[in-house]
Amino acid sequence: MKPLLKLLASLELTIGCLVLGMVLILFGTLDQTHLGIHGATEKYFYTVFVYQYIQSLDINVPYMPGGYLIGFALLINLIAAMIYRFRFNTKKLGIWLVHVGFILLLLGEFISSVFQVEASMTIDEGGTSDFTESFREAELAIIDTTDPDKDRVYAIPEGMLERNQQVDIDELPFHVSIDEFMPNSVLQRRNEFTPVTVGLANRGLGLEAYAVRVPETGKMDERNQPAAIVTLFSKQPAQDGSEIIGTWLVREFMPHQEFTFKDRSYSLVVRRKREVIDYYITLKDFSHDRYLGTNIPKNFSSEVIVKDKRSGLEQDFLIYMNNPLRYDDLTFYQQGFMNDDRTTILQVVRNPGRSLPYISCTMMTLGLVVQFAFSLQRFSKKRKKADA
């Protein structure tokens, strides 16, 4: 058992992990030119192994340890070293602070990588919103619009769409079958050359167009345009025995597609996954200042009112660059604008591990200062001796 513990606690392992970490980070950075930051992060850092897809064999081959594996190895190495090698005394205080801080830093990054949620909120001047939209995840929404005052929304998340299965929602009089889900797609006009083998819709906008699957993008300035082909089956067969209500092509940025079934009206849409929050945010004013006579942006800011649904309380806030709004467990950042400076785009972030980097980095910085102060002290003592 001892040799294994010795290996786990060894400095060789530390240095090995750090060197591998550098190599990984370098490759992960270079590949960002192709994959984008999100793509590279998923491929290199938030993974146990880095895989390469080999087309001829249709398999993914792991060829390099990923961020999770290196981080985990460092964590084990550190804990083992603390148990077997480190001896605690005041002179080692700095070392201890640095290494305990580092453990927290690793854990913090791991927690963020798993739990951090980033979304956005778009509000027009004078408009109000109470939901955020996910950056990357889509959902299929089936909206019961029968009641003119109130919509009932049934949303199927992307995770379920990907399984291409039949979804059964108790309140709906029909089953929803996902025939095909495309995480990213382009739209083509249907004509006489359109191949009949592709999934074709027989209702709504799908009569005019069809979607073709394209590879997903992880780049910052591009976005996926998910599409789905959906068939609805009646839960009770009609008098002529047929169960199929119809097949629709639904895709982000397509208008809502309406249909009626059993005297109720519905609409179908694929959109960014929404999350309803416990307050309304109203945009009073968005401003975008530029430096005189130039197009260099000087400042973006959004004046908002937050009205809490639970307490009815109203508060005014100003969100601008480097000055976000923190409310409940969410933080709203000024991210962008559109529509001739009349619409604001806020980035909304929830990160339960948010405070960990602050704690760990404070510990590590303190530790480094203490440790190097000891070194400096030893050094100046030696110098004095040498001079004397």
Partner: protein, 628 residues
């Protein structure tokens, strides 16, 4: 006394050089162009003196801050600018557009190569290198072709453009910039600006009355109306083109609200009167054209007093910037560092304490000038010293000098001064090449607009670069001096190893804290402590490398030789983190894309690898027999 002689001489020589360089900047002309250069205007969204407008415009067009005219005479930027804004027809014949690309030259009229004044320069730069400079009038005939090619090229992403496309886009921009400059103060279509204004003033009252009649629906005299409208038409067109703002107006919400000349001319239809500033500028135009230097000089002083009394802050900043331009603190610092380099190198063979002291105190003097230069920039832009790649290079040199002073104070052997001078010279030359024809005192983009974080994050992380380079250059010194001289004995080797270790501890602390504070800034700005952005990854690579060196030393895997070689490799990591990440052209905050610089960077990496290889040559081949 004797031991201070070298120090005194060296510092006196440095100060004398600064003085002569400063006084050389004052334009020699009957016209008071010195005062003209101090007049504040607003360009690129910031207040600057006309001297800076002149230097930066000329730099963008010709790649130099002085202009060589068709007769071979050299002129200060402000002399050239005065002509361009007051008497455009003459300025349009000045060959100031530098054209490197042969393809581009082939669509321009052929110019006979001109003999260079100096045969040596001709040998160095190639015969007929004046070929490269064209005047506006020479380009004018081909401009339609240039414009079309530039339009086509601008559809190509800037990183993917070929040499011709880059050149044609630059030329088109510069020609337009020059043309707009000539139409900033006066449109130049009438011989006398003052007479034009008098004529306009005479017709305005009636024209205004006629306009009011027209608005009331009464009969009006269309002729007197149309003569005013034709004036307004001319002013409108040149108003859109004007390059800078001339008239300060009372600030709104603390924001300055300057107006352009052409817009200000509209005041005559509003108030029936012209403001003093308009009249002074008009007088400058006329007196310049007539060669009337007495009137010109009197008026330029009045103009300066008027503008600075309306906006005192602008006056103070413009004056400071002109001083900064004249002082050229970073240029004279290069000269200072060269002196330090020579003093330090010569102190070794002669084992001269005097030269050694002189090297130290000259480093102090250069450090002061370097600091003053950064101080000017901070005052002028109102931001922490590092706002772009250019200023980071200035700061890296400064940081290395600061470390060198500490090391030199401790060991007094000239090595600190020597390393400081090498890093100082190279970082300032790198900075010089990073200017790339741009105004380096640019305005801060909104996303980075935080003085607190610039100070905490950028200054720390960049100081981390400076200190890592410092230890890396000591590594190079140990290797090169060890193989080629007998300078590195056992004691020196031990001492250098101690310095490298100390500095690496220091860089670890700075680069770690800098990286972390960047994460905190990111978390505050867009809610992501760590986003794996190239710049962030670059910073963490540097931290990791320093940490690896420290662990390798503690574990005894690397002794002196290993530590030195690793410190040299630190130069590669640092230059990647500092420059390389920007060349990927991606990420949220890469601050400047450079295409051509990649070759230089790759060359630097190869040189470092060669030096590392040298460290591992067998000890018997090196002249200093240090067994590490």
């Amino acid at each position: 006394m004797k031991r201070s002689l070298a120090t005194t001489l060296s510092i006196l020589f440095f100060l004398a050089y600064i003085y002569s360089n400063y006084s050389r900047q004052t334009p020699k002309s009957d016209f008071d162009l010195d005062t003209l250069g101090k007049v504040p205007v607003v360009m690129n969204g910031r207040i600057q003196p006309l001297d800076s407008v002149a230097r930066n415009s000329l730099l963008a067009m010709s790649g130099k801050r002085t202009a060589t005219y068709e007769d071979g005479t050299r002129h200060k930027a402000i002399e050239w600018l005065a002509e361009a804004i007051f008497s455009p027809p003459a300025a349009m014949d000045r060959p100031i557009f530098r054209i490197h690309d042969d393809g581009l030259r082939s669509i321009l009229p052929h110019k006979d190569p001109k003999e260079r004044d100096s045969a040596i320069m001709g040998m160095l730069l190639g015969a007929g290198s004046s070929h490269h400079y064209f005047s506006f009038n020479e380009i004018k005939g081909s401009f339609e072709r240039i414009r079309q090619d530039a339009m086509a090229a601008s559809n190509v992403e800037s990183e993917l453009r070929n040499r011709y496309q880059r050149a044609v886009v630059d030329l088109a921009n510069n020609v337009i910039r020059f043309y707009n400059l000539t139409r900033t103060i006066h449109h130049s279509e009438t011989p006398s600006f003052l007479e034009e204004l008098t004529a306009m003033k005479a017709i305005v009252p009636q024209a205004v009355a006629e306009t009011e009649k027209q608005q009331r629906g009464e009969a009006f005299d269309s002729e007197s109306l149309s003569s005013m409208l034709s004036f307004i038409q001319v002013y409108k067109s040149f108003g859109e083109e004007a390059l800078f703002f001339t008239h300060p107006r009372p600030p709104v919400d603390g924001q300055f609200q300057w107006e352009k000349m052409s817009v200000a001319l509209d005041e005559i239809t509003r108030d029936g009167e012209l403001s003093d500033i308009t009249l002074y500028y008009a007088t400058l135009v006329d007196s310049y054209r007539q060669g009337d230097s007495a009137t010109f000089n009197e008026t330029v002083q009045k103009l300066y007093n008027k503008v600075t009394s309306l906006d005192e802050v602008a006056g103070a900043k413009a004056k400071a910037e002109q001083q900064f331009n004249y002082l050229e603190p970073f240029y004279v610092s290069i000269v200072g560092y060269v002196m330090v380099l020579l003093l330090a190198v010569f102190s070794w063979p002669f084992a001269s304490r005097g030269l050694n002291r002189a090297a130290f105190w000259t480093t102090v003097a250069v450090f002061v000038v370097h600091t003053i230069g950064m101080g000017y920039r901070v005052y002028i832009i109102g931001y922490a010293p590092v706002i772009n790649l250019y200023s980071s290079a200035i700061y890296v040199g400064w940081g290395a000098t600061l470390l060198a002073l500490i090391i030199e104070r401790l060991y007094k052997n000239g090595i600190g001064s020597f390393i400081a001078s090498v890093i100082g010279i190279s970082s300032l030359i790198v900075a010089h090449h990073l200017i790339d024809g741009r105004d380096t005192l640019e305005q801060m983009k909104a996303v980075l607009d935080s003085n607190f974080w610039l100070t905490v994050h950028v200054l720390t992380v960049t100081f981390g670069y400076a200190s890592t380079f410092f230890s890396g250059f000591i590594g190079i010194f140990w290797i090169i001096a060890g193989t080629t001289t007998k300078l590195i004995n056992k004691e020196r080797s031990k001492m250098l190893a101690a310095i490298v270790f100390g500095i690496i501890c220091f860089s670890t602390l700075f680069s770690f804290f800098g990286t972390v504070s960047g994460g905190i800034w990111a978390d505050q700005s867009w809610g992501r402590f760590w986003g794996w952005d190239p710049k962030e990854n670059g910073a963490v690579l540097l931290v990791l490398w320093n940490v690896i060196i420290l662990h390798a030393r503690w574990g005894g895997f690397a002794k002196t030789r290993g530590i030195m070689a690793m410190a040299v490799f630190g130069n590669i990591v640092t230059s990647w983190s500092w420059m390389g990440t920007n060349m990927l052209g991606i990420g949220l905050h890469s601050y400047g894309f450079m295409n051509s610089a990649f070759n230089y960077l790759a060359g630097f990496w190869i040189s470092q690898l060669i030096i590392i290889a040298l460290a591992y040559l067998p000890t018997r081949t090196s002249r200093s027999k240090v067994n590490a």
